[in-house]
Symmetry: C2
Subunit: 325 residues, 2 copies
């Protein structure tokens, strides 16, 4: 199977939104008048972003999901995407699964594959996604203000817990492992929530490298600090009941680490003024996505963690950095 056969067979579909899709030098797309284009790229490398043993359909899902998550964080509506693939070889079974998982998620979001590139090389998936958002309505990282509430969507830390099982440092009952593994391998991009939060949230980011790290981007861009309630945060770990010490006791230390610095969650962290609490809950209901208020934005720079009694917890969390030593 040659490069062009491969593209025809697995990646070429009738064009719907684009004027011109896969198969010319460029794809052509007519933006909606008055809308801003939102663009994001994510590159996934084997062994770094996914295990070599992952089901290719789940990998197809994840490669697009992590990009849609960036659109969600901006409150942008998905339009189209480009797929660049480096493959060690043209493996038909792999391509069938990968393209199936990819298109299932793409179709669910009305996001059309319009072009890309295919080449031979160490497995690498690079997707660039295009979305649109009305002028001045994009959710940015820079809009958080002291006094704002701090929220996250969904659950946090379960992807990291699954990774620890793969690493052999933890064990989970099968059903809990499958649930955590699905979070790691098939994250849910919070596109509907991002759209619903337009005009409600003051700032937003998606959580790909861990809550502490990605919230840190908001704090830096907004010139503020934040305080997180650790008792609420720890409850965000869906598989919490299974994180125990050898003694059988709850391992609060590890659970908090997974929630705050786990990575691969693809939830949204966002801020909104206290006056918007009802509007936030209405947006969450409209999007069918639970959100939790986990703290507040403060004027003093830095991130503080407090216990149920409001006492400061001193701790350092490493956010995921691809080049940290």
């Amino acid at each position: 199977m040659g490069e062009f056969d491969l593209i025809d067979r697995f990646f070429k579909r009738p064009v719907t939104r684009a004027t011109l899709g896969v198969g010319d030098d460029c794809a052509l797309l007519m933006p909606t008048p008055g809308m801003q284009l939102a663009v994001s790229s994510d590159m996934l490398v084997e062994g770094r972003h996914f295990l070599s043993t992952v089901d290719p359909a789940r990998l197809g899902h994840k490669a697009l999901a992590v990009n849609l998550s960036d659109l969600a964080a901006c409150g942008a509506k998905p339009l189209a995407f480009m797929l660049a693939l480096a493959l060690p070889r043209a493996d038909e079974a792999w391509l069938e699964g990968f393209s199936r998982g990819l298109f299932a998620l793409a179709d669910a979001h009305g996001c059309e594959l319009i072009g890309g590139d295919t080449t031979q090389g160490p497995l690498n998936l690079c997707i660039t996604v295009l979305g649109e958002v009305p002028r001045e309505q994009a959710l940015l990282r820079s809009g958080a203000r002291a006094g704002d509430d701090l929220y996250v969507s969904g659950t946090l830390g379960d992807a990291r817990l699954a990774l620890e099982v793969f690493r052999g440092t933890r064990a989970l009952p099968l059903a809990a492992f499958e649930a955590a593994r699905a979070r790691m391998e098939q994250p849910t991009p919070r596109v509907a929530l991002g759209l619903a939060l337009r005009g409600v949230a003051t700032a937003a980011a998606d959580i790909s490298d861990g809550l502490v790290g990605d919230l840190g981007h908001i704090l830096k861009a907004s010139g503020v600090g934040a305080c997180i309630d650790s008792a609420i945060a720890i409850d965000l770990l869906a598989s919490k009941a299974h994180v125990t010490l050898a003694s059988g006791q709850f391992d609060a230390e590890a659970a908090l680490e997974y929630v705050l610095a786990g990575g691969d969650d693809y939830e949204l962290v966002f801020t909104a003024p206290p006056a918007a609490r009802d509007a936030v809950q209405a947006a969450a209901a409209r999007a069918g996505t639970p959100v939790s208020r986990i703290g507040r934005i403060e004027a003093a720079p830095g991130l503080r963690l407090v216990d149920a009694a409001g006492q400061a917890i001193t701790r350092r969390f490493a956010s995921f950095d691809h080049f940290a030593g």
Copy 2:
């Protein structure tokens, strides 16, 4: 140096055209009203698209050039690009050179880096470029008609000749090698010519995988065939004088192979009706890019090669295919 320091230091620059550039979840860009967006992605893999020994500044140039070449083939004006990089390690000298070469070409074309991704992994460069073109004016592969003239820009085959020197199958005098090597490592995207050919050319493609292969895309998409004059084609090899047999005689067979199936040329192949010959030359002059008329489009499918006397030359040329066995 961490991932975000790396981005800040080598890739973050003041935003000019984009509303929001490197450093949020998405880049935001306001398209010009009435223009179509042209989008293309190319992925470059070490050992496949470039040698590991290449000067990083030249590689930065080439990574963007091959993408701008796709915009050129559509007659689109470059606007902005996304850069996704997988690097084995954060090598400052390499990053300094790479970003210098990349931005020199980007600035020459007013094409702004608006976002991307950086990760650890086997060296892989994926660029997605965004351009714009007035509605209905994009140059497509599907517009060639029987009777049209067939043209290519610039010179062909010298990149392949340089590769043969690297492979050790040929030797060149130093000056000729440096010239051929520059063609291989620093191709010139024909953006100005693509813009000048709007409304003049009936079809266009860029030559990345060899003339035969890329012209083949035009023929297939347009449902036509073509005839190429081999005597004119062979003159497109700038380093022709140095392609000799052991006897010292000109190696016409090899020269023709390099021109027709060399690859990595990043010239344009395009078609236009005979009535547009003056308009084609005027466009070429306006763009400062030489063009050569090398044959014509015919109704009968397939590609034919004729000698100076119009006699058919029977030959098969393999176009470059990343998965051909």
